[in-house]
Symmetry: C2
Subunit: 190 residues, 2 copies
Amino acid sequence: MNQIKQKIILASRSPRRQQLLQMMGIAFEVKTKETDEDYPEHLKNEQIVLHLASKKAIAFENEIQENELLISADTIVVHQNKVLNKPADYNEAIEMLTTLNGSMHEVYTGVCIASIHKKELLYDKSEVYFRNYTVEDMHYYITNFKPYDKAGSYGIQDWFGLTCIEKINGCFYNVMGLPTRKVYQQLINF
Amino acid sequence: MNQIKQKIILASRSPRRQQLLQMMGIAFEVKTKETDEDYPEHLKNEQIVLHLASKKAIAFENEIQENELLISADTIVVHQNKVLNKPADYNEAIEMLTTLNGSMHEVYTGVCIASIHKKELLYDKSEVYFRNYTVEDMHYYITNFKPYDKAGSYGIQDWFGLTCIEKINGCFYNVMGLPTRKVYQQLINF
């Protein structure tokens, strides 16, 4: 087990990402800044999340200190080449979950690790297969769990993930918002 | 979302199984009995976990009440046709993790759901792919996390799972000890 010597700054509001770093035994501080989540239209899949993770890091460019590593990340859901972000309201959440019903979608998370000296990017992709669920399932979930901060309108670690996912192919934690194994190896070798 | 009308009894000491039922929003009571985990030698893979889940239910045969559902389960790790159970001590844990290093193994969980009227069995199988990890990784993990109650000597939901798994193919929660999606659907249709 290699120790990480640098001070880790997590540039993310996501409670899931904070929880995952904790579970990895990594001490960190959270710093966040508002950044718009626009990206050039021609970008696809991993290009989008790498672009956005990088953009979130650039916002901190002049603030990173010697011996600090800044981690920023972005997660999107892609269904049949259509990108699903966070739902704005109940109707958009219903629409997204209706789209994903009974089929496979991909989850991409891009991560940027930046020091004062260099910047490294990585991403992971996982496939998620949903069972056929009912309108009542969606209504119950959205009303009770309010998944408005989640790309694709669901959390793999909550009621919907436990009861509606047939199987995944890839890294589970990548779907939660951080490809932990890749991030860990990148950090200890940075 | 369908309500489960019966009273659920979980016949398992596993804190992971208890946590998963909670996350599914299912109220339950825990009742456990000592049962030996022997099985006929000719059984393979899913036959083993179905046999053991069923055996754990049989121990409660005369105690299940009208309107109660008893859930029992068993999980094993299989690597190249060899079954790995819970490690007895540090050396056995090191031996198991050494066997699993850099390769794929399968996790089987068998579940028995029993009422006073009938008994239903189900199982799920997930593939887990480990990266190459070091002797120091194993030593750090076993010393600090003491995975002696875990088939295969690791937990997919702890430090080892987060930092050492490349990907999985199948149900994540099945690896934790309960194929939640299948159990949920079986319960609401029981």
